[in-house]
């Protein structure tokens, strides 16, 4: 059965087939969810190249962990969460490697953005995407997960391994920087 026909099957049927090693079923799941996962990765990494790489890693990771998916949540939710965790794991590893480097002052980034951003009363989508991409890493992650993807503060804190108060502070900081850039 071709992938296009397999996409007519429910996620439950496809996941079940994929868990038995059916590669076509997994490809159909990939075709259904790649847009959603790639959009998430673009916003979290602020780079289309990194997002392509992370998207691939997420689907390979999902295939390897598929036997652990028990159907307690929707497959899309599970895949989304797995992608966020994978990205956060990578970032922690990168931060450990870069710990001796001097981080760029996040407010310097905002100032650089402010210099190039055109003032607008109605916020253009492209402009907002660009401004989000220019946010400091932590603030961007919180803003994307909270305001775009709709994760609750407690869950974000758990995934990022930080206190809820820190999540709120990062969210506040993200909104302040975006307001400065977009005003």
């Amino acid at each position: 059965m071709a992938v296009a026909q397999r996409k007519q099957q429910s996620d439950t049927e496809l996941v079940s087939a994929a868990q038995r090693g059916d590669r076509l079923a997994f490809e159909a799941l990939y075709r259904s969810y790649v847009g959603r996962i790639f959009a998430l990765c673009v916003r979290l990494t602020a780079s289309r190249d990194d997002a392509e790489s992370l998207t691939q890693d997420a689907f390979v990771h999902a295939w390897n962990k598929l036997d652990r998916f028990a159907g307690q949540s929707a497959f899309g939710t599970w895949l989304h969460r797995l992608t966020v965790n994978l990205m956060l794991d990578r970032r922690r590893a990168d931060q450990r490697r870069r710990k001796h480097e001097t981080p760029m002052d996040p407010d310097e980034q905002a100032m650089a953005l402010r210099a190039t951003a055109a003032p607008a009363r109605v916020i253009d989508r492209l402009e907002l995407e660009r401004a989000i991409a220019g946010l400091p890493e932590g603030a961007r992650t919180v803003f994307v997960l909270q305001e775009i993807e709709g994760y609750p503060v407690r869950e974000i804190a758990g995934m990022m391994g930080i206190a809820e108060g820190t999540v709120k502070a990062q969210g506040f900081r993200a909104r302040r920087l975006l307001r400065e850039v977009l005003s």
């Binding site: 992938v3 590669r23 790649v34 959603r36 959009a39 673009v42 691939q56 295939w63 775009i148």
Partner: protein, 168 residues
């Protein structure tokens, strides 16, 4: 929903889906194939499964099925760019198959299988892209993306051919 904060309102309006510029599936499928490779310790005393006629007959059957698979998406009247891509893909595919016909008879099935699986996946991708492009108006905004994806699929087929040619 109105948050009375234009930034949050705008954030809620952002697209929840974005498509990558190229089809990522061939790379993902190749990585799944790599991981699926069983680790087999070499043995001097026991003949490998590959020496058993049924094993290579099975691989030969898969290869024959791929070679003979109907290329139903190739139509008589196609836009020039699609016809050119179809032609180039058919050439790259034929080159790969000619190498695989020889290699699959002389190497273990576990080494041959990823190439056969890869070719089957590339065939499906090329078929989907060609069919979509043939049905799409010449000025459709998605057309350049699909053409780029088709070229990328073509490059991957050539790359698979190069890897197959280097196999010992």
């Amino acid at each position: 929903m109105n948050n009375q904060d234009p930034i949050l309102d705008a954030a809620e309006q952002l697209d929840r889906e974005q498509q990558p510029m190229r089809d990522l599936w061939p790379d993902i499928a190749a990585r799944l194939d790599e991981r699926a490779q069983p680790v087999v310790a070499p043995s001097r005393h026991r003949p490998s499964n590959w020496r058993r006629p049924r094993t290579w007959l099975a691989a030969a059957a898969v290869l024959t099925a791929i070679i003979l698979a109907p290329r139903g998406w190739q139509q008589d009247t196609l836009p020039a760019d699609v016809a050119s891509l179809d032609h180039d893909y058919a050439t790259a595919r034929a080159d790969l198959i000619s190498v695989m016909e020889n290699r699959c008879l002389t190497m273990p099935a576990t080494a041959c299988a990823p190439f056969l699986n890869g070719l089957a996946i590339l065939d499906r991708t090329a078929e989907g892209l060609s069919t979509a492009l043939a049905a799409m108006p010449a000025d459709a905004p998605e057309r350049p993306t699909l053409v780029a994806n088709y070229r990328s699929t073509l490059d991957r087929t050539r790359s698979l051919h190069s890897r197959a040619a280097r196999l010992r």
